[in-house]
Structures are given as C-alpha cells and as structure tokens.
Symmetry: C2
Subunit: 183 residues, 2 copies
C-alpha cells in the first residue's frame, strides 16, 4: 500500500506506464539519464521555446544543477518530469507578461513576473536580479528561465536550512559556497 509514498526501487516499473516515459528514454539515450546537451536538444526540438530563442547550454546546465541531488550532472525520469512542470509554469508566467510576444520583457514586467511567483523580495534585490539578467534593458525568455531556476534552487536551499522558519539561516562558509556555486 503506497499511500503517497513511493519507494525508489519501485519507480522504473511505475514509470513504464507513464505517457512521458517513452519520450524520456528516447532523449536520455544509453545511459538512461538526461544531460545538458540532451536537454537543450529536447527543448529545442519539442518546440518548447516556440518562437522564442532556444535555451543556451548554460541555462540547461543550471536547470540540471537545480534538480541534481546526487551530483551526477544528469537528470533521471522523476527529475525530468519535475523540470517540465516548473518550465511550463514559468513559460505561462512569461507569456502572460510578454503580451506582444516579442520574446523579451522590460524591467517592470520582470518585477511583475517575479512577484507573481510569490517570492517575497525587496525592491533592491529585484533590481539586482533584473540588472544581472537583462541585455540592453530587456529580459529574454532564456535569461528569465535561468533566473527562475536559480531563484527556486536558492530559495529551496534556504528553506531546507530554515527549519524553524525564522527567515534567517546560519551558513558555514563551505556550505554557503556549495549551494550557491551549484546554480
């Protein structure tokens, strides 16, 4: 009786019945896991980016780094599905803001998009994020996704350590570097 809990060793059998399983195995190839190059090819060929610019290899590496808890540099099936759910949410969010479908948004639209995701960050931090991810004052879809991936991964790292939900975490240097250099 599973009851919301799924044993790791049970995953492959259940996965075989999943409509995405065939798709995943085709992309993953021989080693059964998806690396950055495979992810980039898959997101471009599947038309995920549509009329937007394809994702850079670097954005794909950050996406994998976010989910890669065993540090193999690759994604298994469940990680792959998690990423697709997240990507679809970010894409919808971006398209809602990018009303003229130009593929890029301005700083105000970027602020709205980040706020819409429910992160509580100060205007100054928002400014820092926008500066980092804009080109000539515009934020392109690829960079927007890279910023979403990073913001989520960093917030997850923080929340996991903030066990008392105090909004403050004491980081040791090595731990700080490990979780911030990964993404």
């Amino acid at each position: 009786y599973g009851g919301g809990y799924q044993a790791q060793y049970g995953a492959p059998q259940l996965a075989a019945n999943d409509p995405m399983w065939g798709y995943f195995t085709a992309i993953a190839g021989q080693d059964g896991e998806v690396d950055a190059e495979e992810l980039q090819r898959c997101l471009t060929q599947s038309g995920f980016t549509g009329s937007y610019q394809p994702f850079s290899l670097d954005t794909c590496r950050i996406m994998i780094a976010m989910l890669d808890r065993d540090h193999t540099g690759k994604m298994g099936f469940n990680e792959f599905k998690d990423l697709f759910v997240a990507l679809n949410g970010w894409k919808q969010n971006f398209m809602m803001v990018d009303q003229d479908r130009s593929g890029n948004i301005d700083p105000n639209e970027m602020s709205r998009a980040i706020n819409a995701m429910g992160y509580h960050i100060s205007p100054q931090t928002l400014t820092v994020i926008i500066k980092r991810y804009s080109k000539n004052g515009r934020i392109f879809f690829d960079d927007y996704v890279a910023s979403c991936v990073k913001l989520r991964a960093l917030s997850d790292h923080f929340r996991r350590r903030d066990t008392m939900q105090q909004g403050t975490v004491a980081f040791q240097y090595d731990d700080f570097i490990q979780c911030t250099m990964a993404v």
Copy 2:
C-alpha cells in the same frame, strides 16, 4: 597630500595619467563605463583569450556583476583595472595547469587550480563546482573564469558579513538572495 586615500572626485584627473586610461575610454564609449558587450569585445580583440575560445556574454555579465557595487550594470575605470588584475591571475593559474594548451582541463587539474587560489573548500564542494562548470568532463577556459569570478564574489560577500571571522554567517532570506542572484 593623499597618503593612500583617494577621493572619488579626484579619480578622473589621476586616471588621465594612467597608461590604461586611454584604452579604457576607447572601450567605454560615450557613457564612460564598460558594459558586458563592450567587455566581451575588448577581451576578444585585445587577444586576452588568445587561442582559447572567446568569453561568452554571460561570463562577461558575471564579471561585471562581481564588481558592480553601485548596480549600474557597468564598470568604471577602477573596477575595470581590478578586473584585469584578477583576470591575469586566473589566466596564469589556468595556463599553469593546462600544460598542453588544449584550452580545457580535467577535474583533477581544476581541483588543483582552485586549491592554488587558496580557498578552503571541502572535496564535496569541489565536486559540485566541477560538475557545474564542466562539459563532457572537461572545464574550458571561459567556464573556469566564470567559476573563479563567482567564487571570488561569493567569498567576498561572505567575508564582508563574517565580521568576527567565525566562519559562519547568519543570512536573512532577502540578503541571501540578493548576493547570490547577482552572480
């Protein structure tokens, strides 16, 4: 009498006597500051990357983010000089390790390069960094520099907050996001 202290408003006059000043103004253009595109062009045209691949725009943006304390997204003259000093150190370090001049190094060589910079990080953190910055098991010059820039910027952020030098810093969520999303 200056005595090691240089007033901000005094900088342009003194800078004019600096051999790098003419070079800087040529690169900076009308606005007198260097942005990511200008930095990329300058590092490629000056032959800094030499036989290595030119820096990606993303690496250039991280370099500027590291030094951009006033959040303009651009570099002034003193920041530009600081960056050149750092870049030369990293390049020497890389070339020492990349003995066959292939333009890329393996994980063991990367470990040696990072250790040579004097950072005290655990083997596990080293592994995370190498996974994040390698392509097919090799670390290219561009990615190596991106990792050096990030490691330095993050270590600076940490050190500035670790006033008692305890090796532990209590980060508030917003502050954590601000200093980690910037690079």
